[in-house]
């Protein structure tokens, strides 16, 4: 900053703000002492700060860069899921609303991406377009739990009504995603999509009746059902192909099934067990053994007659229970049971899977329930089909004995003293802490 004017020698030199160019002007004689650059260099421009919106004369606020990036990401998601243009515009406007909401404007960019996914999910639900959270999750690369927390906050904050989507709604689009057309795969693997849908929906209905569906993640179950359906439509050739091989044949994207592989295996086992239970009731097998490994060729017959087979299986199970109780209990128990059987036979048209009125009797454990630790008279032993979480309890719940207190009892000093350190303890503790701090 120049201090004296070369013309008149005065030291009264001030910076002039009048022009867009910085100038130092002498107040006394008016001459320009020095001036700055009229234009900026590239380095100045990149280093200089942009004028913020609130200091400019801008009338409309331009959307921030992240919002624009979010729009393009959300549109891409809509295109992948093949949503209509109406739905796409609904998603975009919902995303803008959510993005600018005070709860979400300052969150991390990852969370903003997930927010975009939540908008897509919400609009799909509203328009009854079946999309699973797991699908959005694998497209965004996040797990269900993270997606779930953002989704819950999003619906709460924006007051969006959530409608539940059922597994059957997701079924058709799920099956169509597998590339099993005659042009895409070999003849032996090819399957018209509609046939696959029909067979899979029959399997899912059977699974629902047998309590495998409720409370579980739908996607692993869908995978398991599609795989079993595909196998059962041509068992002689397809039996030897594993689930992973099937996904490769059908070109299912690896991220969609890879994480839930273990669940798919478990659901497969459960489905096969249910099919075995029903397969045993097929009259033309004449009581022959039906094993989970070999039940797939029978699936066609089982599904065709599933209602009748369910009724037979349940009735035989009831019969078995009744026989056991008759041998174990007194005649009083027999009377109760025969009453309940009579009332059961009146309503025998609907498949009766629950029998709430039978007396609790001892029952030899089922073949699969080898690792359950249920008490002998547990209510679950009366039913043939039950949610697996009831039959296989992971750990025995131990109820602590209840304390009978009034809340106003005397509190003994001794008990309280036991919670307080003695002076020696405190000194030892302080010494040890000091030594540890010195060592560290």
């Amino acid at each position: 900053m120049p201090s004296s004017c070369p013309e008149c020698g005065s030291s009264n030199v001030v910076e002039d703000d009048l022009y867009s160019q910085r100038q130092w002007v002498c107040v006394d004689c008016g001459s320009v002492v020095s001036e700055g650059h009229l234009t900026t260099t590239v380095s100045d421009e990149t280093q200089g700060r942009a004028v913020p919106y609130h200091a400019s004369t801008e009338v409309l606020k331009k959307p921030c860069r992240n919002l624009i990036a979010g729009f393009s990401r959300v549109r891409a998601l809509c295109r992948i899921l093949r949503l209509s243009s109406d739905m796409e515009s609904a998603v975009v406007s919902l995303f803008e609303r959510a993005y600018n909401h005070p709860n979400f404007i300052f969150v991390t960019l990852t969370k903003k991406e997930i927010l975009g996914g939540c908008c897509v999910l919400s609009v799909c639900r509203q328009c009854n377009w079946p999309v699973a959270m797991g699908t959005i999750g694998y497209l965004l690369g996040v797990d269900n739990a993270t997606l779930g927390t953002v989704y819950r906050e999003f619906t709460k904050v924006l007051n969006i009504e959530i409608s539940t989507i059922g597994i059957m709604d997701m079924l058709e689009s799920f099956c169509y995603d597998f590339k099993l057309g005659p042009q895409q795969v070999e003849e032996v693997f090819a399957e018209p999509a509609q046939r696959l849908v029909d067979r899979t929906s029959a399997l899912i209905e059977l699974a629902a009746d047998a309590w495998i569906v409720t409370g579980r993640q739908p996607l692993p179950l869908l995978f398991a059902a599609v795989y079993l359906a595909w196998q059962s439509l041509n068992p002689t050739v397809r039996m030897k192909y594993t689930f992973v091989k099937f996904c490769k044949i059908g070109q299912a994207p690896k991220q969609s099934w890879h994480r839930s592989r273990d669940s798919v295996v478990k659901r497969l086992k459960e489905l096969r067990d249910v099919l075995c239970k029903l397969g045993r009731e097929l009259p033309w097998l004449r009581g022959g053994a039906v094993e989970p490994n070999t039940v797939v060729p029978l699936v066609d017959d089982i599904l065709k007659n599933r209602r009748a087979l369910l009724m037979r299986a349940v009735r035989n199970h009831e019969q078995q229970l009744q026989n056991e109780s008759q041998t174990a209990q007194t005649t009083e128990c027999d009377d109760e049971l025969s009453d309940s059987n009579r009332s059961d036979s009146h309503s025998s048209k609907t498949p009766e899977l629950m029998d709430p009125d039978q007396a609790g009797c001892e029952n030899p454990p089922d073949k699969e329930a080898t690792d359950c630790q249920l008490p002998p008279n547990h209510w679950s032993k009366r039913h043939l089909f039950l949610p697996p979480c009831v039959k296989s309890r992971k750990r025995r719940r131990v109820d602590a004995p209840q304390l009978e207190v009034t809340g106003d009892e005397e509190i003994s000093d001794g008990e309280i003293e036991s919670y307080i350190r003695s002076q020696d303890e405190i000194e030892t503790y302080l010494k040890v802490r000091k030594e540890l701090k010195n060592k560290a």
Binding site: G148, W211, V213, T214, W379, G407, D408, I411, I420, Y429
Partner: protein, 288 residues
């Protein structure tokens, strides 16, 4: 009280005496004319003359303006019959539309067990958490992680969060009395450590109960019929979250038949909520 003998038809001159017919549990159909013998009516004095006397004694004239007291909750709002001193205590079903419709039935016979009580109390003085953590055996204090001392006692088995303002949260007790006793013990420990602790404003903030209805439940069916109260997202959580409005309790209902009830301030709310939900769950017991 519940004998449903058909009544002799009333003489035409009498006003419909439904006012005096309220003791017990009348189940009237409002569409049916009274006294036709088709609607079950609770047995009163079969002598119509004594009925008239009774009516006059109770000071009631004509029943046209009165709505019959309905026990079945699905029909319409009930009003207490004016000017009637009932011979027996008639149960009045709360008719708020936010209670799920409860048909007249006996109780479920299942009592939810309390699993956790959260309570707060004000010790009434500022506390030095470092001193407490140093001098108490059962305390942990990590200011970088959480700004309170976590203290535990063995009997009743509970955990307390003690803040420097003197406020304390006590969790883990299985009954209100146990929670109060535990909070008093913590206060006594703090007292013995040299602080002038008092025991002010003890309040139960939350109670959690659980029970088992002993049959599997079709959650998909329940969420369809009780959409406005339920939220069922199997991809996020295996249970159905049912937000009951009266009483204001949140229930977690699982397919195995286990139900968790939370959000109660008093024990009765948990019992009431369970009695409300049990008939609904029974409706989803069988496969359709």
């Amino acid at each position: 009280m519940e004998q449903n003998n058909s009544l002799p038809p009333f003489p035409q001159g009498l006003a419909s005496p439904q006012g005096a017919m309220t003791p017990g549990l009348p189940i009237f159909s409002p569409m049916m004319p009274y006294g036709t013998g088709l609607t079950p009516q609770p047995v009163q004095n079969t002598n119509s003359l004594s009925l008239l006397e009774e009516q006059q004694r109770h000071g009631m004239v004509g029943g046209s303006g009165q709505t019959p007291q309905l026990y079945h909750s699905q029909v319409s709002t009930t009003t207490a019959l004016p000017g009637n001193t009932p011979l027996y205590n008639t149960p009045l079903t709360p008719m708020t539309p936010v209670t799920p419709a409860t048909p007249a039935s006996e109780s479920s016979g299942i009592v939810p067990q309390l699993q956790n009580i959260v309570s707060t109390v004000n010790l009434g003085c500022k506390l030095d958490l470092k001193t407490i953590a140093l001098r108490a055996r059962n305390a942990e204090y990590n200011p970088k992680r959480f700004a309170a001392v976590i203290m535990r006692i063995r009997e009743p088995r509970t955990t307390a969060l003690i803040f420097s303002s003197g406020k304390m949260v006590c969790t883990g007790a299985k009954s209100e009395e146990q929670s109060r006793l535990a909070a008093r013990k913590y206060a006594r420990v703090v007292q013995k450590l040299g602080f002038p602790a008092k025991f002010l404003d003890f309040k139960i903030q939350n109670m959690v109960g659980s029970c088992d209805v002993k049959f599997p439940i079709r959650l998909e069916g329940l969420v369809l019929t009780h959409q406005q109260f339920s939220s069922y997202e199997p991809e996020l959580f295996p249970g159905l979250i049912y937000r009951m409005i009266k009483p204001r309790i949140v229930l977690l209902i699982f397919v195995s038949g286990k139900v968790v009830l939370t959000g109660a301030k008093v024990r009765g709310e948990i019992y009431e909520a369970f009695e409300n939900i049990y008939p609904i769950l029974k409706g989803f017991r069988k496969t359709t």
